[in-house]
């Protein structure tokens, strides 16, 4: 397996240049509305999808951007859209 990630700035690069930043969970919730459950849900809980998921990546060794991609966790290949299934 050799992951490549497409950085919106630098293009397709070796996956090891990047850091994984977690499942896409939406914007930070407002702190005042957070219960222990909803806090935990946002901070710690994952869906662990075996399939295509939207997720964050940081181009650590490159341009320093945060961005999301769709990736099939069962093949480690990027997808254009969440539905793409080959």
């Amino acid at each position: 397996m050799a992951l490549t990630i497409t950085c919106p700035i630098c293009g397709k690069r070796n996956g090891y240049e990047f850091r994984y930043g977690g499942e896409e969970k939406g914007p930070r919730p407002d702190e005042k509305d957070l219960t222990p459950e909803s806090w935990c849900d946002y901070v710690h809980m994952n869906k662990c999808v075996a399939g295509v998921q939207q997720e964050w990546w940081f181009h650590r060794d490159g341009c320093g951007s945060w961005f999301t991609i769709f990736r099939d966790t069962t093949t480690n290949l990027e997808k254009e859209t969440p539905e793409a299934k080959e």
Binding site: I9, C10, G11, R13, N14, Y16, E17, H59, R60, D61, G62, C63, G64, S65
Partner: protein, 210 residues
């Protein structure tokens, strides 16, 4: 007070032949026995700037238009301007008279943040290939162009200035703290091709030939 000196993080173990003192730096213009190339030159004393703003396209540093596409560079009057991303450019002063720091707050001087090296000569990409998986020969890129990526495991900015036979060469920067190990790694990789340290003059001549 006695003479205050600024030091580059790079120290080549060869004898300088000609030294020029500039803004407290002792700049080696030429080393003894530089050979026929390829060469490695320390440019750490050369001014580098960071220009960063959400409004980058409105900026014209030193009257030069910043390339619109990230990864593209432009070389004009000895100044190399590299578009890094949507909001950021690096500016390298490669040759010519000293530049003055622009007054706007969007500029930050980063000369001291990195080690600045040039590798020149026909076999430069054979050397690079031993240290990085980045594709310097990518036909879809036009020189000069910028890579931000790992070189000898360290995140670098590498600008390919030319891929034309003996004019071939790159300049690269990485965190200053890596200077010694980076130079060692490059010299080690270049050994089989006869890579040798050279003085600033090689770069000045090279830049003017481009």
């Amino acid at each position: 007070m006695k003479d205050i000196k600024r030091y580059s993080p790079v120290e080549f173990k060869v004898t300088p032949l000609k030294i020029e003192t500039r803004d407290h730096w002792d700049v080696v213009m030429e080393y003894h026995n530089e050979g026929d190339g390829p060469w490695l030159v320390d440019l750490s004393h050369r001014t580098r700037l960071d220009l960063q703003t959400g409004n980058l396209d409105a900026k014209k540093p030193f009257g030069i238009t910043i390339p619109a596409t990230p990864g593209q560079s432009v070389l004009e009057n000895g100044l190399l301007i590299n578009r890094m991303n949507g909001i950021q450019s690096s500016i390298y002063h490669l040759a010519g008279d000293a530049i003055e720091m622009p007054g706007e707050t969007e500029y930050t001087e980063i000369t001291e943040a990195s080690v600045f090296l040039a590798i020149m000569g026909e076999s430069v990409f054979a050397i690079c290939e031993k240290l990085s998986a980045l594709d310097f020969m990518d036909k879809n890129r036009e020189t000069p162009f910028l890579y931000q990526g790992p070189f000898s495991h360290v995140p670098c900015q590498i600008v390919t200035l030319s891929r034309e036979a003996e004019k071939s060469g790159v300049v690269l920067t990485c965190s200053r703290g890596y200077a010694k190990v980076m130079v060692d790694a490059i010299l080690h990789a270049g050994e089989e091709f006869g890579l040798k340290p050279a003085g600033e003059k090689r770069v000045t001549d090279w830049i003017s030939s481009l």
